[in-house]
């Protein structure tokens, strides 16, 4: 009996020890913590989220895919953050910042006394080191492009341990937004690897939790390849609630790798996961049928910021078929295609009505930047035929469309085979264009094979893709619209603008980038949108609504239109009392 009691005591001690390691540390007087608004919650619980695929890396500098960023983002923090709810910038690791009058110099004051998740201090050296890594050409960070302003990298200078100065080569509108999602790295853990040129190999998915630290609300606990990654509370996180309790509330955050969206829905319905991030409209309707019994709530946040479009290959690389560019580079051909596409049909059949049709690159939900005066021409096959006739096309006896050289119009549209929505859009467009006598083949390809064709080999006719969704500001779009941009998909690698309108677009986008006044910037971007809509480098189709779901007992859940839609305030999420704190917590 005595021995048993002794054993129990030992277990208790051990148990409390292991708990203590990740239990929230009391706030120190020298720590400049951020106080968040929002409901005051209670500690405990494990939040399980389903993910379609596992991350490729845990390295925030090299991660390019959404899955990796979703996980990494919860373990890292940035200097200035875009609040996903208000879409405005707010202080994060930097408690304040000041811009010089000409908008070129930014001085950031860091919070004092903060510690990384491994209890090491955070200061200006970490910031300078982080930017050094992001800007290093050898690392090939996808964020590097954003940090090049006016052709020159941003200069970073340490003023003192808690002050950093950033100097831009030219004024840059909304410059503080570029700090968002740039994870601050622990110099004490990474500098050695960086100097030994093995930075890109560290922090892969096999990394031991001890070698990984960040400033985010969670830190790595363990990673089971192919199954799940378990994050635990960062006991030194720098935010607290109104009652001065250190966040996050949750003990654990678990990402469960379930395979695909269908599996995500099933796991959510079964109660295995607590959050359903971006469900498609049909599954949303399916879930809504038993939302009452299922104990979960569903949210339709309205149109997303992304745009889906039909892309014609206008690259002048040696195409496999010589007659191809002649059609696609004719504006009237593209206009005819645009006029024939039944956008309402796409919204209805593909997105079950939970989407809006698009005629430009800015979603109507981006009210700050959308050009309201863009025309929304109704679908008209008549108009399409007139345009084609004017462009020298004619119809054969059997209704097939022929170009001026009596060549029948036949091309293929490639789509990602894993994206059901886009495959459906392609089938609808195929049917629409068959009414104009065009013979269109839909070719579903594995996503990487598709990217390879679009970005590398240019071996395709047309593709259905989607872009945007990251931020409401126009600047992240520079890559897409500048003729030299790396996502200038219709014609990659232009050394100078291939057409007059592309030259005009370059000019407008450059001008808006350095314009600091919103009104003037808006006018410039409105014009840019007009140029885009008039010249149709992309035939815009629709933007789906953002649909998410969460267990009813999950409090402080405030899904947002900006990515990450559901977990952006994960530090504030908690399970309500009496609800079984770990609902959806069986990994």
């Amino acid at each position: 009996m005595r021995r048993l009691a002794w054993l129990a005591a030992l277990v208790l001690v051990l148990g409390s020890n292991s708990l203590a390691r990740s239990s929230p540390q009391p706030a120190q007087s020298d720590e400049e913590l951020q106080i968040t608004d929002g409901e005051v919650g209670r500690y405990g619980g494990s939040l399980v989220v389903g993910q379609a695929a596992e991350p490729k890396t845990l390295n925030p500098v090299t991660a390019a895919d959404v899955r990796s960023r979703e996980v990494i983002g919860r373990m890292m923090a940035d200097l200035i953050h875009i609040n996903r709810d208000s879409q405005r910038t707010e202080p994060a690791l930097a408690k304040s910042w000041a811009a010089s009058r000409d908008g070129r110099v930014f001085t950031l004051k860091l919070r004092r006394g903060l510690r990384f998740s491994d209890d090491q201090p955070f200061d200006a050296d970490d910031v300078v080191f982080s930017f050094q890594v992001y800007l290093d050409e050898k690392i090939h960070s996808p964020q590097r492009d954003l940090l090049i302003v006016g052709g020159k990298p941003i200069a970073v200078q340490k003023i003192d341990s808690y002050t950093v100065r950033f100097t831009l080569a030219q004024p840059y509108a909304a410059a503080e937004r570029i700090f968002d999602s740039l994870a601050m790295l622990p110099r004490h853990l990474l500098e050695k690897a960086y100097q030994e040129n093995r930075f890109t190999q560290v922090w892969n998915i096999n990394e031991s939790p001890a070698a990984l630290a960040g400033m985010g609300p969670f830190r790595l606990k363990h990673y089971v390849p192919g199954q799940r990654v378990v994050l635990e509370r960062n006991p030194y996180f720098w935010k607290m609630d109104q009652k001065r309790q250190r966040l996050p509330y949750l003990d654990e955050l678990v990402f469960l790798f379930v395979g695909n969206e269908e599996a995500q829905v099933i796991r959510f319905q079964a109660g295995d996961t607590a959050i359903m991030n971006r469900v498609n409209a049909e599954n949303y309707i399916l879930l809504s049928r038993d939302a009452q019994n299922g104990g979960y709530g569903l949210f339709d946040l309205g149109p997303s910021l992304e745009y889906n479009f039909l892309l014609f290959n206008l690259n002048d690389a040696k195409a496999s078929r010589a007659n191809r560019p002649a059609w696609f580079s004719d504006l009237r051909f593209r206009q005819a295609v645009s006029s024939a596409i039944d956008r309402e049909g796409i919204v209805k059949l593909v997105y079950a009505g939970r989407a809006v049709p698009l005629w430009g690159n800015v979603s109507p939900s981006n009210q700050l930047w959308v050009n309201q005066s863009l025309p929304h021409p109704a679908r008209s096959l008549e108009h399409a035929r007139e345009l084609l006739k004017a462009a020298g096309f004619s119809w054969r006896g059997d209704g097939r469309l022929m170009d001026g050289k009596s060549q029948t119009v036949e091309f293929s549209i490639i789509v990602s085979s894993s994206n059901n929505q886009r495959t459906k859009i392609a089938t609808i467009i195929q049917d629409d264009l068959s009414k104009l006598g065009m013979d269109v083949h839909v070719v579903p390809l594995e996503f990487r094979a598709l990217l390879d064709r679009v970005f590398q080999t240019f071996d395709y006719d047309a593709a259905i893709m989607g872009l945007g969704g990251g931020d409401a500001d126009p600047n992240p779009e520079m890559n897409v619209w500048l003729s030299s941009g790396s996502t200038h998909l219709w014609h990659l690698g232009e050394t100078k603008p291939a057409t007059d309108w592309e030259a005009q677009l370059d000019q407008l986008m450059q001008q808006q980038m350095v314009e600091l006044k919103y009104d003037r910037r808006k006018r410039l971007y409105d014009q840019a949108q007009q140029v885009i809509a008039a010249n149709l480098p992309y035939v815009f189709l629709a933007t789906p609504n953002i649909l998410v779901g969460a267990r009813k007992n999950l409090a402080n859940f405030k899904p947002a239109v900006l990515e990450p839609n559901t977990l952006w305030n994960v530090e504030q999420l908690y399970f309500r009392e009496g609800s079984g704190a770990t609902a959806g917590a069986k990994p």
Partner: protein, 354 residues
């Protein structure tokens, strides 16, 4: 069901069973061949106001309780509150007419016609097996899809059996190193993971391959991979036949190889070939279905049973629209028909050899 089948196998003679299975299959194939006539609509024509309409109900008794000799349907209208939910509008009956004018098609792929077996007047629609995501009539798609799926199965079987007969005969008849090498190659083919082979072949193809080319390529690959089993069986039969006494006797009278083969050896292989054919057709139909299901077969908007079943990969379709399983029913009926036939052939073969 099971007991029923056992009863029939006990009570029916093998000959009657063969005949019954063959007749059912002839009927089913006839339906597929004349699918254009039987189908009320075009397989690819989209009807975007009517996605996922459940199968149209045929009525004999109207809302007032009057009996109609000619069956009729009500128009399906979507419910305002629910998405993809429909109800019958009982305002007007639309009687089913026979031999109606409709979209053009080719009878058995040969003669142009526009007469369809049945139809209803617009605006009513008749979806015997419901409609799909794009409002396409699934019944028509199953019939047209059957042409592709069964066509692929039959042609691929033809290729497999011809190859199997040729190589098996050579191997069994000439023996020695010919036999040895052909049989080793056959073993190689037997262990080939054909699904991965097809995946690889498909990946190497250019994008611009037309549906017709895809179709024949599929058939060629499926057919040429499967020759090994029939070849081994044929070889066995040939091997035993060529050492029979009457063969030796005819040799003694100076018969040539080709005479011996035609007159004495090959007739023994027909039973094996027929049984193999009946086994291979459903197997190859399922192979086509598998490939199309995985997106490696024919692409939209062409229907094939595999394409139609691929809709079920979406969870919401799987649990919400039961009529999307209809192509699977067609597949099951055909497979059972062929397997019954194979069974009967096999029994007959045994009784002959015994």
């Amino acid at each position: 069901m099971k007991t029923g089948k056992m009863m029939t196998s006990k009570t029916m003679t093998n000959k009657a069973k063969t005949r019954a299975a063959a007749m059912v299959l002839v009927l089913l194939h006839g339906i597929i061949v004349f699918g254009g006539f039987i189908a009320p609509g075009e397989p690819a024509s989209q009807n975007r106001d009517f996605p996922f309409v459940p199968p149209t109900r045929l009525h004999f008794v109207d809302a007032q309780g009057h009996f109609h000799l000619r069956p009729f349907v009500y128009q399906s209208v979507s419910r305002p509150e629910g998405l993809y939910e429909y109800e019958e509008s009982r305002d007007q009956e639309y009687p089913i007419h026979l031999f109606v004018e409709g979209p053009k098609y080719k009878i058995a792929g040969l003669f142009l016609s526009s007469i369809h077996l049945f139809g209803v007047e617009a605006p009513a629609q008749i979806f015997l097996a419901g409609s799909d995501n794009y409002g396409r009539d699934q019944f028509s798609r199953i019939l047209y899809g059957g042409r592709i799926s069964l066509g692929a199965g039959l042609l691929a079987t033809g290729i497999s059996l011809s190859l199997g007969l040729l190589l098996g005969t050579i191997s069994g008849f000439y023996g020695r190193w010919v036999d040895e090498s052909v049989m080793r190659i056959a073993e190689l083919f037997l262990v080939l993971p054909w699904l991965y082979l097809l995946l690889a072949v498909r990946a190497f193809l250019p994008l611009h391959i037309s549906p017709v080319q895809t179709f024949f390529l599929l058939i060629a690959v499926i057919g040429s991979v499967g020759w090994a089993r029939p070849a081994r069986l044929v070889r066995g039969v040939v091997l035993s036949a060529r050492t029979r006494k009457y063969v030796l006797a005819s040799r003694g009278f100076g018969a040539s190889d080709s005479y011996v083969l035609r007159r004495h050896v090959l007739p023994h292989t027909y039973g094996v070939l027929l049984t193999q054919a009946a086994l291979l057709v459903p197997q190859y139909v399922i192979a086509e279905v598998t490939l199309s299901f995985l997106g490696l077969g024919l692409s939209e908007p062409l229907p094939s049973w595999g394409n139609l079943l691929a809709n079920l990969q979406q969870y919401n379709v799987l649990v919400s629209y039961w009529w999307m399983f209809a192509p699977a029913m067609a597949l099951v009926v055909f497979s059972l028909g062929y397997l019954a036939l194979a069974d009967a052939f096999h029994k007959r073969l045994q009784s002959v050899t015994v």
